[in-house]
């Protein structure tokens, strides 16, 4: 058993990778946690697909405004500098490539960047897609936040998705509890390792040929901050 990051540590790690001034959409579920770790001294503008830029944290109890919610239908607040707009404008922002980063959950990510995160394809399940497909194809950088392995210890990083696709070749980077992977034309490149994980170990866990980019990425990270 290798060292793994907790969900909160992973959220923190992703938050640290987002530069000031970025326009960011955090998908519903775990990615929402990233907001809690954005540095207080940096201005990062959150987009919520239901029609807002400049989303702030949850309100105090007693201050919940049912007219002010996020994509997960949770109560939120508006920061100074916020703007409201209708759904066609909101998804125009996504589709038009104006978001710098979105962070999404995943069932599977394939070597070529294909994403599956909206349906397990289980018969009889009630399907729902929401804005997942628009986010997947819209943001400049699509980050996936996920455990590397399912509860059954199957790798979520795969050669090809077996679940129904959300988007084709859309993922740029995968943040997992074991390591950070970049999607490259040659397959997954390990960008950063957590704890005692090694590229060899990850290759075993995922069953994939992995590129070791840990040295290069350390350099990039320094430059980027």
């Amino acid at each position: 058993m290798t060292t793994k990051l907790s969900r909160a540590e992973l959220a923190q790690r992703i938050a640290a990778a987002i530069p000031e001034g970025a326009f960011v959409n955090l998908g519903i579920g775990a990615p929402t946690m990233v907001a809690n770790y954005l540095p207080a001294d940096l201005e990062i503008i959150l987009h919520t697909e239901n029609g807002m830029l400049g989303m702030g944290p949850a309100p105090l109890a007693g201050e919940v405004d049912p007219d002010l919610i996020n994509a997960g239908k949770q109560a939120v607040t508006a920061l100074d500098g916020a703007a409201y707009f209708h759904q066609a404008d909101s998804f125009g922002m996504m589709r038009g490539g104006h978001l710098d980063v979105c962070v999404l959950g995943a069932f599977q990510v394939a070597e070529n960047g294909d994403l599956a995160n909206w349906s397990t394809g289980a018969p009889g399940a009630v399907p729902a897609v929401g804005g997942a497909m628009d986010l997947a194809i819209g943001a400049k950088e699509v980050y996936v936040m996920t455990d590397l392995l399912t509860k059954q210890n199957e790798s979520k990083l795969v050669a090809a998705c077996s679940y129904p696709l959300t988007g084709i070749g859309c993922v740029s980077r995968v943040y997992t509890d074991h390591a950070v992977f970049d999607v490259t034309p040659e397959g997954f490149a390990v960008r950063e390792l957590y704890g005692d994980n090694t590229v060899e170990l990850l290759a075993t866990l995922t069953g994939l040929r992995l590129i070791d980019a840990t040295t290069a990425s350390a350099f990039d990270e320094t430059k980027g901050h």
Partner: protein
């Protein structure tokens, strides 16, 4: 004198016939026109096709319309929610038809109807189940699928204030589908907290211009406002906090 204000929600929903296509505004509960939907249930129209982002929450509003078995088909992006038990039951029973549309395509198809666009090429959903059978085309190195307008006989939406011409302003993220649905329906029916005098909405700030609105009904101020000012004291469903003690007031999920 133009006056689109009708005297009741009953009058507002008059003329919806069996088999009609009806857009229902709102994202979850925010901006959902609860009072108009209740009036539609009372009015009795059935065999409806509903266009809405979700498929109802809890047992009120759109969920109640579904529970009354008035809806033959729903076109939406996100039916499955923790509180969508009414839809879930009907769907599993095979008692309702579902057309699932990615949210941005849903919004843009509604906009296309309102703006006279015959069809458009969207990159969303390409290569997925939801674009199966759609015409695709590569333009400038990217693959798109062809999407058609979604129009309706009626749109039921909720806004904050209107004037008697039908100019509308909304509140915060409750704006969501209102402006685009208003333009995409033959008859757009709006419920508002309040009618304000003509000229009191700044022309710079009109979110839905009068041209898109046919009927306006007043339903009174929301629980969480007092004389236009937010006072809070409610949970996410708009119920006074004392009445919902024990539930997580800031919680909820799609």
């Amino acid at each position: 004198m133009i006056n689109k204000v009708v005297s009741s929600v009953e009058e507002a929903v008059a003329g919806v016939v069996d088999g009609a296509t009806v857009m229902v505004g709102g994202f979850g509960r925010a901006g959902q026109p609860l009072e108009l939907i209740d009036a539609l249930i009372a009015q009795g129209a059935t065999d409806l096709t509903i266009i809405s982002n979700n498929a109802g929450n809890g047992d009120v509003g759109l969920a109640a319309l579904l529970a009354a078995r008035r809806v033959r088909k729903i076109v939406c992006s996100f039916p499955r929610q923790p509180d969508s038990w009414v839809f879930d039951g009907l769907y599993r029973e095979g008692a309702i038809e579902l057309e699932l549309v990615p949210q941005g395509n849903l919004a843009e198809r509604i906009r296309a109807a309102g703006t006279g666009i015959g069809a458009f090429f969207s990159p969303t959903g390409v290569g997925t189940q939801l674009a199966e059978g759609k015409e695709t085309r590569e333009i400038d190195g990217r693959v798109y699928s062809l999407e058609y307008p979604i129009r309706a006989d009626f749109a039921l939406i909720s806004a904050w204030k209107a004037d008697r011409w039908g100019n509308l302003v909304y509140r915060k993220t409750a704006r969501n589908f209102g402006p685009i649905m208003a333009a995409a329906a033959t008859t757009t029916v709006v419920q508002v907290d309040e009618i304000v005098s003509l000229g009191s909405i700044d022309p710079e700030n009109v979110a839905t211009p009068s041209i898109f609105v046919q009927r306006v009904a007043v339903v009174g101020e929301r629980e969480w406002l007092k004389d236009d000012v937010f006072v809070g004291g409610v949970d996410l469903e708009g119920r006074p906090l004392e009445a919902s003690a024990g539930t997580d007031s800031a919680g909820g999920s799609r």
